[in-house]
């Protein structure tokens, strides 16, 4: 290693007018013409006391329905629909919530030929966080979760914190709570 990477510093409370203006927020990760099962994901960020975190920014990175990333280093041969971004970015509202629209990703190649279950790579930035927190969002009830090599790294009693839950009576709508600290604290990864 030639040089030490720069240190992270908090995003602070005043990022909105640069990072999450209407022009620079990305609510929809996949345009309407992108094939796949449509997903509306409502995220909510909560602090140790359960209070909504109203000044967070969430970024999501995901593969398409075939499990391919929109990135030159993904060796899979299939083409990615140009309307598929695979990237989203929103600020949390007063209630700590924000809603993304996307498609359910496919299984992604994983270590030792074990496919990874459909998941969203998820980063939380906020005042008070000296560095963004990385987690993953899986879909509750997906049979592939049983074999997922990353979920397998997580103690069984904490795996549930990584599962988005379907909203009853609202097909395609899912909820994911990010509990930054406390009981049912979300699992975060050292990436």
């Amino acid at each position: 290693m030639d040089a030490i990477p720069n240190a992270s510093q908090t995003v602070g409370p005043f990022f909105h007018f640069s990072l999450t203006t209407d022009a620079h927020s990305v609510k929809c990760l996949a345009g309407p013409e992108v094939p796949g099962e449509r997903v509306w994901l409502t995220c909510r960020v909560l602090d140790a006391e359960g209070a909504p975190v109203n000044d967070a920014m969430i970024e999501i990175w995901q593969a398409n329905a075939e499990g391919k990333y929109n990135h030159p280093d993904d060796p899979q041969a299939s083409a990615v629909n140009p309307a598929f971004k695979g990237f989203g970015r929103l600020e949390s509202g007063e209630d700590g919530r924000c809603e993304f629209e996307t498609i359910r990703p496919g299984c992604v190649p994983g270590p030792r030929s074990v496919p990874q279950a459909p998941h969203l790579n998820f980063a939380v930035f906020a005042r008070g966080l000296v560095k963004q927190l990385h987690t993953r969002v899986y879909f509750a009830g997906d049979a592939a979760n049983q074999q997922d090599p990353v979920l397998a790294l997580v103690p069984p009693q904490r795996r549930e914190t990584l599962l988005a839950q379907p909203e009853p009576g609202r097909p395609g709508h899912w909820r994911f709570d990010v509990q930054l600290q406390g009981e049912r604290e979300t699992v975060f990864f050292d990436v």
Partner: protein, 241 residues
């Protein structure tokens, strides 16, 4: 299911941060951290295709004045005009071309154009304080702005943030994503600032301080500051992951 999902996948993992060069997750000297930092240890995640890819395309349009924060309004902002320039490199010394750099800052009086900043310093109708640019093929970026002022906050008694510019950079992978702050040389407030002091390693800490640069300085126009940014680089050899 991806075409290779059942096959072997060769990826190049990214280097891990040397100890002490990043702020610790739990850092109570920064009050807002106390109820927000996870208490459980982070779980070590070996890199997969999900970590080593990231958004490299389609950051939207870059506007003509996005790299000149002094020309975004009808008049000129009040303050000391400066040029900030540098390169975005990886830790192997390779430039990172065509990556998005976003910046934001307070005005010369230390006030943000943000409704949640209510401290009694004037807003400047000619200054918003947000910019964005792509690095060129050599990883270089450059923008013109005015030097931000320090501002008070409530973290501790008589707390003042040193003058700083926020930076947000993508790099090539989701895990190279960096949000940081650039400080100015010789600022006495850095010594009292828990955000600056959150980085334990002294060398890594002072890497966040820009350098005055006469080459970047333009006669009769603006002083110049150099600020190179290093993102995590890939490991030397690919492996089967």
């Amino acid at each position: 299911m991806g075409h290779l999902a059942n096959e072997r996948s060769i990826i190049t993992a990214y280097q891990r941060h040397p100890p002490g060069t990043q702020p610790p997750v739990s850092y109570p000297a920064y009050q807002s951290n106390i109820l927000r930092a996870p208490a459980q240890p982070l779980i070590f995640l070996p890199h997969t295709l999900s970590e080593v890819t990231g958004p490299v395309y389609g950051h939207g349009e870059i506007g003509e004045t996005d790299n000149d924060l002094t020309r975004q309004h009808a008049g000129e902002p009040i303050g000391e005009r400066i040029i900030v320039a540098g390169r975005v490199l990886d830790s192997n010394g390779r430039p990172i071309p065509h990556t998005l750099v976003e910046v934001w800052q307070a005005n010369s009086a230390g006030r943000y154009a943000h409704q949640r900043d209510q401290h009694p310093a004037p807003l400047d109708p000619n200054f918003t304080g947000a910019g964005r640019m792509l690095t060129d093929e050599n990883g270089s970026y450059r923008f013109t702005t005015i030097k931000p002022g320090p501002y008070p906050w409530f973290n501790h008694y008589n707390a003042w943030r040193p003058a700083h510019i926020h930076f947000s950079i993508f790099g090539r992978a989701f895990i190279t994503r960096l949000v940081t702050q650039m400080y100015f040389p010789g600022d006495p407030l850095c010594a009292y600032d828990p955000v600056f002091q959150s980085v334990p390693d002294e060398k890594a800490r002072y890497r966040m301080v820009s350098k005055f640069d006469l080459e970047t300085t333009q006669p009769q126009w603006a002083t110049g500051y150099k600020f190179d940014i290093v993102l995590r680089g890939p490991e030397a050899t690919p492996f089967e992951a």
